[in-house]
């Protein structure tokens, strides 16, 4: 088995021109990100556009979006294992790897957003002073790391079994898999509660936040998966049944429908009741006191989401692979805008004392964020490059030793 793993590891460094170009590109972006982070570590977070009025920005926006992506890996797990839908069962592995990459990116986004990252050990129990159960941030740290652990174990378990030429034994993995379902829902619920519990921010302090988080997670994560699965299918020997892809697309349609419905519910509540608390939503879609920087973005996101919903809803449309991919990209971008800057920034606009500071990420912030995305992409690429040969069994030509 170790021989198989070593062989697979060797494969990570072997590939065609496209592979090397891709990795080189990712490493370049990571390099830029690292240099930008060094500047931030030296000068402080002043290199970002965040200020006291908008104290969380692009980094936390990316974190929020990625927690959703990580949670959505479970959307593949539910039909695969609970309904034994075979076409999906085989590709759950790739979903779990996406969850791993996404959680790693989440953790990175949080760490680079901290003013004193070396002090992160203060969060730990026993050695530090962990504020459990009061602080939702602590809950988030616990569930995210737990989720990472669960997915790593699941992937390792699958790879170990595959490397030995066997099927995954459900009996051994099932408890962990079943745990991963509520756990995935919990990571996103805890993240939602992080914002939800703040009475200081009326835009977030709405019961609809947690359901909206889950709905948007469960359409954006699988949308990414749809694209990734097709890439894997194209570039490797892995066979992925179209039925799996279309089933995922169908589920995405329903979750996007729920997402749009919940958005509609929020819009109704704020604009019909018309209290001062409607200000953040007004800022997003219509501008407030002449400040309208995010307005075109929000309408674009809405247009993308509605179009994608239509594409995924109608079987004839979603089974056209070109339209499917367009739809997936539309969802990815739409939810990224809506849940990223479209969620974090209006929580602070207007701020607690009514001031409007229009935040837009600085170049440094963008570079560091791009670096982390590139790192996640590289991690996923390496995981795929490592696991696909094991998965397809092509490394099992000789029996494993020891």
């Amino acid at each position: 088995m170790i021989i198989v793993f070593l062989k697979a590891l060797k494969r990570v460094f072997q590939g065609d021109v496209r592979y090397y170009a891709w990795v080189a590109f990712l490493l370049t972006v990571i390099g830029f990100g690292v240099s930008a982070y060094l500047r931030q570590a030296d000068q402080g977070l002043i290199v970002t556009a965040m200020r006291d009025q908008v104290s969380w920005g692009f980094y936390i926006a990316n974190f929020t979006f990625l927690v959703g992506v990580a949670a959505a890996a479970v959307l593949l797990v539910i039909p695969a294992y609970l309904y034994n839908f075979k076409p999906i069962k085989e590709i759950v592995l790739f979903g779990e790897m996406l969850a791993i990459a996404a959680v790693v990116m989440c953790i990175l986004f949080v760490v680079i957003d901290m003013g004193q990252p070396l002090r992160v050990w203060h969060l730990l129990p026993l050695v530090g002073t962990m504020n459990f159960p009061s602080s939702l941030l602590v809950w988030d740290v616990i569930v995210l790391n737990g989720y990472l652990l669960i997915n790593v174990l699941l992937v390792l378990y699958a790879l170990v079994r595959l490397a030995a030429g066997k099927e995954y034994k459900l009996a051994l993995g099932l408890p962990l898999i079943l745990l991963s379902i509520p756990w995935a829902i919990s990571i996103h619920t805890v993240t939602a509660f992080l914002y939800n519990g703040l009475s200081a921010r009326p835009f977030w302090n709405a019961s609809i936040l947690a359901p909206r988080f889950l709905a948007s997670a469960f359409c954006s994560g699988p949308a990414i998966m749809l694209i990734l699965l097709q890439v894997i299918r194209k570039l490797t020997r892995v066979e992925i049944d179209n039925r799996a892809i279309f089933k995922i697309a169908e589920l995405v349609a329903y979750t996007m429908g729920i997402n749009l419905f919940l958005l509609g519910a929020e819009v109704f509540k704020e604009f019909y009741s018309g209290s001062v608390h409607a200000a953040p939503l007004e800022y997003l879609y219509f501008g407030l006191h002449g400040k309208a920087q995010l307005v075109p973005w929000m309408w674009t996101a809405l247009a993308f989401n509605v179009s994608a919903f239509v594409i995924f809803l109608i079987p004839r449309l979603r089974e056209n692979l070109l339209l499917l991919n367009i739809g997936a990209i539309l969802i990815f971008v739409g939810v990224y805008i809506e849940k990223g800057l479209g969620l974090i920034v209006p929580g602070f606009i207007p701020d607690a004392l009514g001031e409007i500071y229009e935040y837009w990420p600085s170049a440094t912030e963008g570079m560091i964020a791009a670096g982390i995305w590139a790192l996640g992409a590289l991690l996923y690429t390496i995981m795929i490059k490592f696991s696909v040969p094991i998965y397809t069994g092509e490394l099992l030509k000789k029996p494993a030793r020891g």
Partner: protein, 177 residues
Amino acid sequence: MKRIVFPIMAMVLYGVLLMAASSVAAPVVPDAESGKRGDLPRFLVPSAVSRENFPCSRCHNFRAADRTKRKLKEYHSNIELKHAEDQRWCYDCHEGDRLRLQNGRLIAFTESYVLCGQCHGTIYRDWKAGIHGKRSGEWDGDKLYRVCANCHDPHKPRFSSIEPKKPPMKPSDIKDR
């Protein structure tokens, strides 16, 4: 000559020192005449005395008092009365080196707050309790109370507007190096 100049200079110096002391928020040695009297505060920062005119008896002992309400032209012309000037004028509150209450009783300048308190009863009450006026001293010990005339010009008490300090920087103007 020296006998007149010296006391005047001493009084001028005393007045200047008192003004300087009262404008700094540091505990000041209380005037011997003030002290705890019922519900009155213990440590009073006295108001400054007029440099040119104190003591009043210097001139007013030698002049006949013309109590007709009029606008003064020869002396005290720099004092503009904008404080219920339709109802009163100088002799309603001043009597030689003392101040005159409504019931005719004369009080010292160091107790000027009693005079003000006649009309401004609610503020007088708040001031005695410590919630009117500039606060300094020790919150748990010797609190410093200023007499009314310390902050308010008795003849023209309304505060004039002042220039505000600079507004804070806008967040978009706070930049890195």
